[in-house]
Symmetry: C2
Subunit: 228 residues, 2 copies
Amino acid sequence: MNSLIEENYLKALFSYANDQGEVSVKDLSEKLDIKMPTVTSMMKKLSTKGLVQYTSYKPIKLTAKGRKAAGIIIRKHRLTEMYLVEKMGFGWENVHEIAEQMEHVKSPDLFDRMDELLDHPKHDPHGSPIPDKNGKVDWINYPKLSECKVGDRVRLAAVVNSSADFLSFLNKRELQLDTEMELVSVEPFDNSMIVSYHDKPNETLSLLVSEKLLVEVISSLDSNQQSP
Amino acid sequence: MNSLIEENYLKALFSYANDQGEVSVKDLSEKLDIKMPTVTSMMKKLSTKGLVQYTSYKPIKLTAKGRKAAGIIIRKHRLTEMYLVEKMGFGWENVHEIAEQMEHVKSPDLFDRMDELLDHPKHDPHGSPIPDKNGKVDWINYPKLSECKVGDRVRLAAVVNSSADFLSFLNKRELQLDTEMELVSVEPFDNSMIVSYHDKPNETLSLLVSEKLLVEVISSLDSNQQSP
DNA sequence: GTATATTGTTAGACGCATCTAACAAAATTA
DNA sequence: TAATTTTGTTAGATGCGTCTAACAATATAC
């Protein structure tokens, strides 16, 4: 099997891939906080193992095998997060660190059991989709709240950032997954948004926040989306 | 904190200590399947860290600090085993391997939560005591079934071996923790025992098995235990 | 109490994942 | 397109945990 270290590279390659499925050495290096030469040499190793497609000076891509391996790790991470929230009473802001460790546990049975006890959840507590047992994930491309228009009625579908700080911020504002909001107005100066939800008629969300909230648009004021 | 590797040394030192709390380099080496020179050098390292008391050519002993660290690891292991059995429906024969990995997870909260959800269990699914949050364990010194006398009525309190093979063997014979048995007879030739329990009037247990079963004696035929 | 066997240590090497320093290729800017 | 910046690679070193080979101390046997 792959070592913990290799698994972290695979996960990063999976998570930070662009639309072509590619990641640069520099990006990987920064995300993992590992210097570039180290990344280069690890890419050679993973390439030998058939997990990545690597050619000098070209961006890195996971092979089908590597994508599957990475998907399974992410499946374990997200199932764990869901289990911790749903079955053990943890808050969504406190599960990432634990899942980060549990994702490396080698026991298909453990995670299958979580999946079963959770009734085969489709997404984790942060709205991210849970890959299937083959590591395959079908991604719904939700827009960011920041891209929505005044008058849009939306449902909070996922958050882009799972840091405890950010999630605690949302907790304080009583913003949960599935909360329905209406975009009241946008401040042109700083692109902050005023939204209404629950019993809150006008909460202000900075651009930094609205960019991290992925939403499903339920209804829109103007039905024509694009017209020049 | 201590690395996974250090943790495994600490656990072994804790588990294989004799009545003086000592372990030889040779024993550690064999239990961990690591060559003696490697053990020696690791002992120097752990000694520097104040976790073991080590002098050349002398047996090794955990310090109070080391004992606490080891106890906490074992606490995590045993809580996990109990959680897997009680809350996730695993059989007692399938939890050791998983707990072996989970015991290294750094998250006091996770194990505190298990402890709470399990209502502060005193022992794991194999009857081994669960150390408290300070790593302290109070050990009840149960006798082996093999040391009991004909006519003794006993309760299965713990098993000494947690291998899947052994536990599956007990499953097949419907022997669980807390099963009450009566020692019917002992075969002088091979010291195998015939015991009765549940609806089984005479099950044969080899010496190899009866040595691995720790029991609480409920009643004995002759009340005088020792008389020359 | 010496000889032998067992146990433990020292010395030196190795693989892995990491680093820094120096260099090379590719991309960007002028 | 030439100069410069950015990105990536090569070479060589380091720390960790491991090993084997050789030697040393302790325990056991005779």
